[in-house]
Symmetry: D2
Subunit: 307 residues, 4 copies
């Protein structure tokens, strides 16, 4: 199996699909992105990188950032975090608010918005204020991607803040249940800023390597999180990483992964490698349409699967 060949084949095969799907429209900064882009990259646990297409093109990582903030919060609180955010898939998106209400303000998992907002709230508490919490998250992204040049797209951030009414609603609903400790505005700044980080697929595949290696960055040798907790993050990505298409992603691709509405998806092959893909047009579930297809082709061609 030659990964360069595999990636090039994928690049050819997905090309006719570019143009299908739609880019995220809820904020202008995302709505104007060129939908025809595609990039894919693989970083092996020994650091070797294979890339194809626009693998150097930065994009808004959006919900992929939730993996980084959850890693930090889990490291800080260990199992005490589970009381504030569960580990169950959330089912149909239309249920988002009713489930939060029915389940007394405890989000089902850290990868839905309510859960990630609680995670950010816990980081603000842990690091004392929202500015420090944000710096810690950015610092962690710099560390695991081994790249300090990664920054926030301020236009995306401003757009998110201006259209964040539903997230303000979620935060206040949790506050009404006592599951929110800090100022809503400060926490949402941290939340939206880390969602607005810009990375390319090379950086992302590099950054996720610690989850392909039981919590320890295989290149620097630094342990970011314990082996047990790293496996648990992977299990969460498998069961909850792709909104209401998580089951389908697990079914078709068979790898832990996390997508973002910016068009990025990351996936992890435990013990072997990390994969990232970018194509901004989304399918009806809010996941990159071509990115999902590319990952399906990748596991079909390589036979890599955790199952």
């Amino acid at each position: 199996m030659n990964l360069s060949t595999v990636l090039n084949e994928i690049y050819q095969e997905v090309n006719p699909l570019l143009g299908q799907g739609k880019v995220a429209k809820y904020i202008p900064a995302l709505a104007k992105v060129d939908p025809l882009q595609f990039g894919m990259g693989v970083t092996l646990n020994d650091g070797t990188f294979y890339g194809v297409g626009a693998y150097k093109k930065g994009f808004s990582i959006q919900s992929i950032s939730k993996v980084f903030s959850y890693t930090l919060a889990l490291r800080a609180y260990q199992s005490a975090l589970y009381k504030r955010v569960w580990r169950e898939p959330s089912g149909n998106p239309f249920n988002s608010l009713v489930q939060l209400e029915y389940e007394a303000g405890i989000p089902r998992n850290p990868f839905i918005n309510a859960g990630a907002i609680v995670v950010c709230d816990s980081l603000v508490s842990h690091f004392k204020n929202s500015v420090k919490a944000l710096h810690k998250v950015i610092g962690f992204i710099h560390e695991c991607s081994a790249d300090k040049s990664i920054i926030i797209d301020d236009e995306v951030y401003q757009s998110e803040m201006e259209h964040g009414f539903r997230n303000i609603a979620l935060a206040n609903l949790m506050k009404s249940f006592g599951n929110f400790d800090n100022d809503v505005n400060g926490v949402l700044q941290t939340y939206f800023k880390h969602c607005s980080m810009v990375m390319n697929v090379q950086q992302l595949s590099r950054a996720m390597l610690y989850l392909a290696n039981d919590g320890t960055d295989p290149i620097s040798g630094k342990q970011f999180i314990s082996s047990t907790l790293a496996r648990r993050i992977n299990s969460l990505m498998l069961t909850c990483g792709h909104y209401d298409a998580s089951g389908d992603f697990a079914f078709r691709i068979g790898l832990p992964g996390k997508s973002g509405v910016g068009g990025g998806i990351v996936a992890v092959v435990p013990g072997k490698m990390s994969i990232a893909v970018y194509s901004p047009a989304l399918n009806e579930h809010g996941n990159s349409l071509v990115g999902t297809k590319a990952l399906e082709l990748f596991t079909t061609k390589t036979g890599l699967s955790i199952f």
Copy 2:
């Protein structure tokens, strides 16, 4: 790693937990089961078996049967089956009926009751009538467990039929949406009968071996289902195998598995082995309390995990 030692350690460690939890009460035949039982067994892909406790004690497999019927239906219909039953976790159990209604009679996955009933309906259509469909399911269980002595517990079956009003409701609701083709009563007979099969953990761990070996029984060499589809069944067990505690099971145990309210749980280590455990007292999610703990100890002690 000596599996005999591991199983004996687990047996010691879970012993103090026996007495916690409650056996299923919804039918008399299950309510009267002795809650203090425990048995665990592992069958390696080469056929070697390790057992501890009551590993020869038969019990009602209940929802574990859904893995067998789904395998047959997937083999018969391939991806055409996906139109009738999806692959997504179902979220909170209180949503069961509303989700079915909201999603126009298409069950979220084949491991919730509505999904398994549709699977049985598809088998009745495929094999022409409900008696033949049942014989095919029983025949498949005999084949993959390599044991033709496995039979139905008629008392459990009768009990289920007498208390099956909710399942009749589910079937009729799906019929109102056009997702049910045969006589409700006949399909429910097939459904309840295959749920009422009696197996012990040795038989169950043997029977699941094809899912630990990409769809082919590693001992007989017979292919029961394609490699691709076997992996998809495993992914479904991971995301949907344990009712509303599926995420937690994946999080803590990290293996594809399926539980039943009879107190049994099966789990699969792809490429290596299949594990079954039995202890009839259930936790608040309807999964074997001691069985879940035993599997968590197993993966902790052996380091086996797909993540």
Copy 3:
């Protein structure tokens, strides 16, 4: 106020609206009805009748029948009936099953299907079997309309039975909660047969007179139900009589009423009169489009309103 003039004006004014809306399509026997029909009738408490349009044309009374069966059940059980069926509006129709599930099998009111089915179940228990229960309901309709010629439309009844899967689902769900005592099939026969009665607006306005007169038929002087309970039925018609448009009907028309998908609506002016209207094309809430408009014109022109 000359009621003949009022009815004739209404007839003129609604004429341009005929052709809007759609007849009920869920069974063939209703789907083939001519949508352009209109009839309206008023019976005063002294027996005087005013009619316009097709006031002699019989139609399927459908859910209007629920007023009659509820009257009988309330007479038989008095307040003991409230334990089995509540008196609250049911909100959005999409909630029908989830509310029934969430509220443990107790329907919100007797005018939604689940509630009317429980009412029929209670009548089957009270009158010992489903045939006698049906005869009692038919007998009551004959008595309060003073017309023994009213019969069941057997084609509609057969159609309903063949398409009644959702109602079978509701009955079985209630049975699973212990709120259903008799054979589902027998109760549904009673239910569908009384829904399939054929009446015209003259007969219907006559039959409802006891509710315009505190429970006593003002013409025969027979008391059908106590004054207190008659007022309670009226309040139920006001709050729950028109599916999810009950609030709007109360808001715009201001009279207790009950509609059916056959295109009929009845309304009551306490102390004065009873009104019935027929036009089979329905609005988006399942109520007669022209019938609703005609009643709104009637209360606007006459100033009659309970508010």
Copy 4:
């Protein structure tokens, strides 16, 4: 019928019930209220007042204020208001957020919190800012009660603002759907301040007289709202005035009414009188327990009912 006698009888009969139910606990200012109080008052359309018990004791009118703000908004916007807030009962309270989400941010009626908040938002738009809007509402309360001494309880208001997270959530959810035009904080100040007005039952029964007289204050002769709209407000009080016990209130009492968690209830007998009652201990639906009973006794003893 001597109303003094009726009120005195009621006072005797409800006395043994004082001590049942619980005062609202969600804010300290309400939690400390003495639960054993009772007062009741009737104002006839000619201005005659009958009172019993603590009819001069002021209390927090809470949701009763929604009748006043809705009257102003309906007067300002007429039927254009219906696009922003419907007229349907809302069903089970657990649905509050999901219904708002499912129905795209349009509250079901102006008497649930979401609806009253939208009404306040519409008043802020109409009167240009939140301070002027509040002054108009207070001015209207002064006018229809003919009492300019009525003021806001600032402690209650502060408490509400400090615990108003769920209402902030509702406002932001509506904003995310485009059904909220002004600054959330300003609108909520108006909302909470008008909920925090202090009135006694004499003032309240006087203030509601315009709704017992087709929109025109029978004493001053001033028309506050058209006859048609006054009747529509009455119909809304009947179908939606008492949270999820609105149907039961209509069923048992048979009058349009509105309750508040401060323990007050108002009711209207069209053409005749307005009634107010106060007793702060609430039943499980959040309505005054003794107040509801007192009104039921009132309609039983007097035979007054709109049905």
